[in-house]
């Protein structure tokens, strides 16, 4: 694990000519890296003490974990283009499209699971490839391009569904996975775990992940150390689309159908979780553990607030505030650190 080497190195002997890191700056670094984790633990303890009846229950944790798996996957999908320095605003609508497509193939066309699932995921990859082509090959602005593709996809979904959900004809074998529990944990959480480990592996343990970070840090320099920048940006969008496709299939399993409106509920939370995640574990860098932590920190806190009787609107306010505060703290801390 890279994290363990991180900590040993910082306390290790300094090279001559440069002072060893102060105890104070070690504290700053630790605070930056693990601040969100500490907050997460504190909020769990706080809500457990305040709501001993309803919050610290197996059912509640199962619900949180089960419900957030799809959001976490979509957030992981978002960080691949973000690492390369590009926004992908189409993740929400692609999630909607892939889940509608999968649900419709299963119910209306009665495709078998083994065909419908790869088809749903494949649609995600294809749209990722299209975004990647427009952005990397034609050099279009990612924010504008993905806003455009997102808008088109939303229109296609509405045209195809008339705004109605697909709720019948989903095989039980799929919905069982969505609502099932294995070894005391929701099945969706296992899917998330596999995908998260895969993303973490890709980003931290393959040259591909390193190349993406290099492209995001300095595309000119990346080209001059021999990287094919266009191809890497393209690939980051394909990975992103594929992950969203997996999320879409899982969403069908979880909901037992396809809802044409879900895209809206996923895009902003996914992007804000991605940025919140980049302030912790490896601050300043989009990273998988930080992303997962951010998703679950927000979900747990919002669930606690809801159980305490606060209305629905609190979710947006809490998510937004957490993001701004985290980014502000992380920026101030890194400035202090640079000043020491």
């Amino acid at each position: 694990m890279t994290e363990s080497t991180l900590t040993t190195d910082n306390s290790g002997p300094a090279q001559p000519g440069r002072p060893a890191l102060h105890a104070k700056s070690v504290l700053f670094i630790a605070l930056q890296r693990y601040g969100l984790l500490v907050l997460f633990v504190l909020s769990v303890i706080g809500f457990s003490l305040y709501l001993p009846e309803s919050f610290p229950t197996v059912l509640n944790f199962r619900n949180i974990a089960g419900n957030q798996a799809v959001l976490a996957i979509v957030t992981l999908a978002a960080i691949f283009p973000l690492i390369c320095g590009h926004f992908d605003l189409s993740i929400g609508s692609v999630l909607g499209l892939t889940s509608i497509a999968t649900a419709s193939l299963l119910s209306k066309y009665e495709w078998p699971l083994w065909a419908a699932v790869p088809a749903g995921v494949g649609i995600g990859s294809a749209i990722g490839a299209l975004n990647g082509f427009l952005i990397a090959r034609l050099g279009l602005n990612a924010l504008i391009t993905t806003l455009g593709t997102a808008t088109v996809i939303t229109g296609v979904i509405t045209w195809y569904t008339n705004g109605l959900s697909i709720i019948t004809g989903i095989p039980v074998s799929l919905t069982d996975i969505g609502s099932g529990v294995w070894l005391g944990l929701p099945c969706t959480l296992y899917f998330l775990a596999v995908i998260a480990v895969f993303c973490w592996y890709l980003l931290e343990h393959t040259p591909f992940g390193r190349y993406l970070h290099a492209v995001g840090a300095n595309p000119n320099a990346a080209r001059l150390v021999g990287l094919n920048v266009d191809k890497l940006v393209m690939q980051s969008f394909v990975v992103s689309g594929t992950l969203v496709g997996l999320g879409g299939v899982l969403q069908v399993a979880r909901q037992g159908g396809g809802n044409p409106q879900i895209g809206l509920y996923f895009m902003m939370p996914a992007l804000s979780s991605a940025f919140l995640g980049a302030t912790s574990i490896q601050p300043g860098r989009f990273n998988v553990p930080g992303t997962i932590l951010a998703v679950f920190f927000l979900a747990t806190s919002v669930s606690g607030l809801a159980l305490a009787g606060v209305d629905n609107w609190v979710e947006s306010i809490f998510n937004g505030t957490a993001l701004v505060v985290a980014v502000a703290l992380s920026t101030i801390l890194s400035r202090r650190q640079a000043g020491t």
Partner: protein, 513 residues
């Protein structure tokens, strides 16, 4: 312009006893110069002669040492208290090498920015704005229309837009001084001609122009008088009609120069590592040379001579438009940097922040940026091996970092440069292309960097070095090619290789066969 004629010859700007001391150096030492109405007055000097310091004092950016006086507009000012506001009120206008224009805004908008728009209340009066821009376009002989985005103009016209913007409020052309700092350095050949002709027309209409340039042929063609600075001192002013290139160089260098016989066409090498024939692309018109194994060869040239671009063409970073490269006897056609890297060619760019470093990434990741693939074994990155290689490089290249996981941006300039250098050197490339290897680096780091390069050459690596510091080239290189206007004009080897000779040759425009 009858008014201008009656005043022709009167001095509009005069500086006296201007000195400027920086810690450790005296950049200017008692300089006195006068500028006459309607003349193009060229200012010459080597890097470090004090030209830019003088211009910054005139702009009010630097305060001169006490005792200096600036006379302009019939008044005298203490040069140690000169400010940008005073400079503006006296009509001193500055246009730099790459003028600060907004490429996506129209010509009319660019001309209005900084001056203010024609407004009625809060509303911009576009017809008036356009008409004003049209008048300026005519007055300054710009090939443009008011509504065209500046990005669509030819490079020379962009410079003229910047000049028009600076001079638009000048009543007539008789007041003030237009100060142009290397205005042609970024322009292609035919554009230079047009800019010079237009400037000549401004001067004939009475505009005073202070023209700073390295290009002697331009200075000879357009200026009326020429002054030179050397080591911070004013070493002479003369009417341009009495000068030629040899005399200009003598004036700049302070000693007689005889035209050096070029040692051209050194005998062909028997087994060159690289041989380049008639290579062309961008500013490079046609370049041929050969490099032996273990040789350190420099390419000297002024800004715009194309020397940096030769490196980029060899590395596949810029597209070639012609010519032939052979590498180890094989045809070599790099279309992108990865092609060159595959043949073990390395490239150190001049602009570290823009083209070389990954600032937020760690020292370790910066060191392994070219070859991180080699640590991928058994389906995972061997972070331990990457780390020990990074620590070894940090020790070997004496990089001052507290940890190999420190972000690169927290290192000093010299240490960042050593990281970029180490990134390539640890793979022992066959050919290392270096653009300004010690730019923005403190003196001791520079010495260290030269040491690493010499060591690499001794081990058989071929180095091709571009530097604007001719002292550095003379110290480091076995021989130096001199490029002028996209061609190799000469070649120097010891015992003739020294920085003065390089300066002389780099300034002579025409290629002597």
């Amino acid at each position: 312009m009858p008014e201008a004629e009656t005043h022709a010859g009167a001095e509009v700007l005069r500086v006296e006893h201007i000195s400027k001391t920086f810690p450790g150096t005296r950049a200017l030492d008692g300089v006195g110069l006068g500028f006459r109405r309607g003349e193009i007055h060229a200012l010459l000097g080597n890097n470090g002669s004090g030209k830019s310091t003088l211009i910054k004092i005139l702009a009010g950016v630097y305060a001169a040492d006490p005792g200096g006086v600036i006379h302009a507009g019939g008044k005298s000012f203490d040069a140690s208290r000169f400010s940008p506001d005073i400079a503006r009120s006296l009509g001193l206008h500055f246009v730099h090498q790459t003028p600060a224009l907004f490429p996506m805004l129209s010509v009319a908008e660019n001309m209005a920015i900084g001056r203010g728009f024609e407004t009625h209340g809060a509303r911009i009066r576009w017809p008036e704005q356009r008409a004003r821009a049209q008048r300026l376009i005519e007055r300054f002989h710009i090939r443009a229309m008011p509504d065209l985005p500046v990005a669509w103009l030819e490079p020379a016209d962009r410079t003229l837009v910047a000049i028009a913007r600076a001079l638009q409020d000048q009543e007539g052309e008789a007041h003030g001084v237009l100060i142009l700092d290397e205005p042609t350095a970024a322009l292609p050949g035919p554009e230079v001609e047009r800019l010079l002709a237009t400037l000549r027309r401004y001067a004939e209409a009475g505009q005073t122009i202070l023209y700073v340039s390295h290009r002697l042929d331009e200075v000879l063609r357009i200026s009326d008088r020429v002054s030179a600075l050397r080591d911070g001192k004013h070493v002479g002013t003369a009417p341009t009609k009495d000068m030629d290139e040899t005399k200009l160089v003598s004036m700049m260098l302070g000693r007689e120069v005889e035209r050096i016989r070029m040692e051209k066409g050194s005998a062909p090498l028997t087994d060159p590592l690289v041989s380049v024939r008639e290579l062309a692309g961008g500013q490079v018109t046609s370049v041929s040379f050969e490099l032996a194994r273990g040789e350190v060869v420099g390419i000297a040239g002024l800004v715009g001579s194309g020397n940096s671009q030769v490196l980029r063409l060899l590395f596949g970073a810029d597209p070639r438009s012609g010519g032939e490269i052979r590498f180890q006897g094989q045809p070599f056609t790099p279309e992108q940097p990865s092609d060159a890297i595959a043949r073990r060619v390395a490239y150190l760019p001049a602009d570290r922040a823009l083209d070389a470093t990954f600032a937020p990434m760690s020292v370790r990741e910066n060191l392994s940026a070219v070859n991180v693939g080699r640590y991928f074994e058994g389906l995972r990155l061997r972070h331990g091996r990457e780390r020990s290689d990074a620590l070894a490089a940090i020790r070997r290249f004496a990089i001052r970092a507290a940890s190999d996981l420190q972000p690169l941006s927290t290192l000093s300039g010299g240490n960042q440069q050593k990281v970029v250098l180490a990134r390539w050197l640890q793979d022992e490339p066959k050919l290392f292309l270096l653009d300004e290897p010690s730019q923005g680096v403190a003196a001791h780091a520079r010495t260290e960097i030269h040491g690493f390069l010499r060591e690499a050459a001794k081990a058989g690596m071929t180095l091709l070095v571009v530097s604007s510091d001719f002292e550095e080239l003379a110290q480091l290189c076995d021989r130096v090619l001199i490029m002028v206007h996209g061609r190799i004009a000469a070649e120097l080897r010891p015992p003739h290789l020294d920085s003065h000779r390089l300066t002389e040759l780099a300034h002579f425009a025409e290629v002597t066969p």
